[in-house]
Amino acid sequence: MMMIDLKRVIKAGFLNFTRSGLVSFAAVLVVTITLSVITGIILLQAVLNFSLNEIKDKVDVTIYFNVKAPEDKILSLKGSLENLPEVKEVSYVSAEEALRLFRERHESDYPTIQALDEIKDNPLGAYLNVKAKEVSQYESIANFLKGDNALVLGSASIVDKINYHQNKIVIDRLNNIISGAQKLGFLVTLILIVISIIVTFNTIRLAIFISKEEISVMRLVGASKMRVRGPFMVEGAIYGAIATIITILLFIPTTIYLGRTMTNFLGMNIFSYYVSNLFQITVIILLSGVSLGIISSLIAIRKYLNK
């Protein structure tokens, strides 16, 4: 009994959809726009996050040691730094390594190399490169190094300088930009999604308004509320499903184009991101589209059902 009702409701929904022609087309179009906005925001967020991570990755704190600093002390400091919860990684560059890197960097700078050769001794000290998990955590790492901590006992004497304080202004500013960008992104996303939901809801309400005569006749003939409501909900789900397919297809040429022209500027290929996350994106917008269609229909029809 339930099964046969369900089958009839689904069939009626499909039939209504195909017979409503222009109205169905308009509704699908509007849902497509909403889903495109959502997809666009997903991609935009990905680009934003990617760029922010890129920038964050470029920030670090370097601890330069005296030339005579013994290696075991440096390594023990490295060990205690690695134990800090804020620290992501610490890389050690020995004095010899530093010299080699310096020579490489100044390969074509003949006078410098010559001067270096004349000194004979290695003038460069070893250094540690510290990367924090979050940009905001560099300060506490710097404080840790400054403090007379038992773990770093005696390290003050071997440290030549820490470049945190030179980078501080840049790091702070970056920190503000990042958190601001995230807040703004969230706000814009929210506003855009709310607007598109309202527009979709109104379009579906109009589509149902056209059928209000039908609804009252159905009730008059003795149809239960669910029997009247069902086909409209199915129709709403169809709007969502078709709009999902159109949106997914629409974004293939769009992202190919963006991938070709914008990869250098953005630092990532949107098309490959889109393709590798296609499944998740499809699930998200399918669920959004279908539930948007069903819920809008449900709310819109309530007004005419209770008469």
């Binding site: 009994m1 046969i4 009702d5 009839r8 209504n16 017979r19 409503s20 059928s211 005569e213 039908e214 009252s216 006749v217 159905m218 008059l220 003939v221 003795g222 149809a223 239960s224 029997r227």
Partner: protein
């Protein structure tokens, strides 16, 4: 079958739509309710369907007080009554076949019943060749015959026809009345409202005359007299 007990209905202070109406309609009757527009015919019918609530009095359908029914029981009551309207009230985006099938689906008939009954009833109202036409592809008379077919498909105990011929020409009117008489002959109670003198005079059954919300005449085998 239907009992009106001192029913009064006021829409605005100056005029009564129904003024202390008391009447009984027994099963198997063919009752015509006549009167000018605004005499209270449609209000009377709305009371039977509990589509409108009176200010005073009660209406019983058999032993049920129709105004005390809950939503679900009301749906069940309405399923026992077939209604035909002046403006047909067909489902415009469904074909003739689907309009009738929908009424059957609504009361939970099986697909087999629908497949066998729908062509049968369409034949009864002479619409078999228009089975897959939409209402807008049919004439007024055809649409009204379809509406009657829909009203009788679930074998209701009562058929209410509210001005069914109001929008039709003489020939179509005659056909509709013949169909209603045939339905009555098969044992279904019929209530017909009209202001068409020719229709009433040709039926030769009970006539209730209304004026300004009051029943002013109730003849067992009446004519249209105002």
């Amino acid at each position: 079958m239907i009992y009106f007990n001192n029913v009064s209905k006021v829409y605005n202070k100056d005029s009564l739509a129904l003024d202390d109406v008391t009447l009984t309609i027994t099963a198997g009757e063919f009752v015509s309710i006549v009167g000018h527009s605004g005499a209270g015919k449609t209000t009377l019918i709305k009371m039977i369907l509990a589509d409108d609530v009176p200010n005073e009095g009660t209406v019983f359908f058999e032993s049920i007080n129709v105004f005390k029914l809950k939503n679900k029981d009301l749906t069940n009551l309405r399923r026992r009554i077939g209604v035909v309207f002046q403006d047909f009230k067909l489902l415009s985006n469904k074909t003739a076949y689907e309009n009738i099938a929908f009424a059957m689906e609504a009361v939970g008939k099986t697909n087999e019943e629908i497949e066998s009954d729908v062509p049968h009833v369409l034949e009864l109202v002479d619409l078999k060749d228009k089975m897959h036409h939409f209402p807008h592809q049919m004439s007024g008379g055809e649409q009204q015959r379809l509406a009657i077919a829909r009203a009788i498909i679930n074998q209701p105990e009562l058929i209410i026809a509210d001005e069914p011929t109001g929008n039709l020409d003489a020939i179509n009117t005659y056909e509709i009345i013949q169909i209603l008489k045939k339905i009555n002959d098969l044992g279904t109670t019929v209530i017909l409202t009209t202001h068409n003198r020719g229709v009433i005079d040709s039926i030769k059954k009970r006539v209730i005359t209304m004026e300004k919300g009051k029943v002013i005449r109730d003849d067992k085998s009446g004519k249209y007299i105002i």
